[in-house]
Amino acid sequence: MAWTWFHRLGSPPYIYSLAARLTPWFAWPAAALILGGLYGGLVLAPPDYQQGDGFRIIYVHAPSAWMSLMVYMTMAISAGVGLIWRMKVAHAVAASCAPVGASFTVCALVTGSLWGQPMWGTYWEWDPRLTSELILLFLYLGYMGLRSAMEDVQRADRSSAVLAVVGIVNVPIIHYSVTWWNSLHQAPSVMKLARPAMPASMLIPLLMMLLGFTLFFVAVLLVRLRGEILSRERSASWIREAVST
């Protein structure tokens, strides 16, 4: 029973129309959460006892870093599904993820760098967290480069998917780097259920930004996915109706 649902997801025309219908349901809440989170983080949250107002960079840095990891997981899992089930739509999802993930990885690295300079005293250090995040960027760029290097879409799909899947080992490394090894970057403040490392006034805007960016990613993915699917469906009959509006 569940498999019919799964295989329906593999149907390009179904996904195309579903994506179109779902997009506003992600886009608008994303905008509301991000705007609310920005106000909460920039205006309402008190300054930090150590970092003063400089800590507010967290409201763009942490969501960007979260995006870089979450988007990679989505990309790698869809790539794996595409490899195993030979599903075009899954490969289309992976391909749509890559530019989004790469841009947020750059954002995480640069905002982190800007935050590091006043607080640590340096724009960059080869510590485990920063180094593995940089490797993530290379994985994204490698994935995109591999795709564009191959003429045949199927071969592009398959080889880039292998890279995406292999690179998934980097994700737990990035997350646990600060607890497994001595590092300059501090331990996670949010991903722990025990004692929260910040009061509600600081935490709530951060959670809003994290959720808002996640919904934003889904909305962008849905739009990209439609474009990706259209460009792959050369002669399908459903396209005539889909693009005539």
């Binding site: 400089g54 763009v60 960007s64 640069v110 962008v220 990706e228 460009s231 693009v243 005539s244």
Partner: protein, 55 residues
């Protein structure tokens, strides 16, 4: 108000960070929409060629 922009002396680090993030967000929106528009146009062109090209 100027205190807000000063960000406790960290303005030079805070505002470029927010600015870059805004750029990345807008870029993603624009890029995604352009990709979709272009794919739709290409699809229409392909259909038109096939439809009107073999009479």
């Amino acid at each position: 108000m100027s205190e807000f922009f000063d960000m406790g002396g960290y303005a030079a680090y805070v505002w470029p960070s927010y600015g870059l993030t805004l750029i990345v967000v807008v870029l993603n929106i624009v890029w995604a929409r352009r990709l979709l528009t272009r794919s739709r146009e290409e699809a229409r062109r392909r259909l038109a060629m096939r439809g009107g090209g073999d009479t």
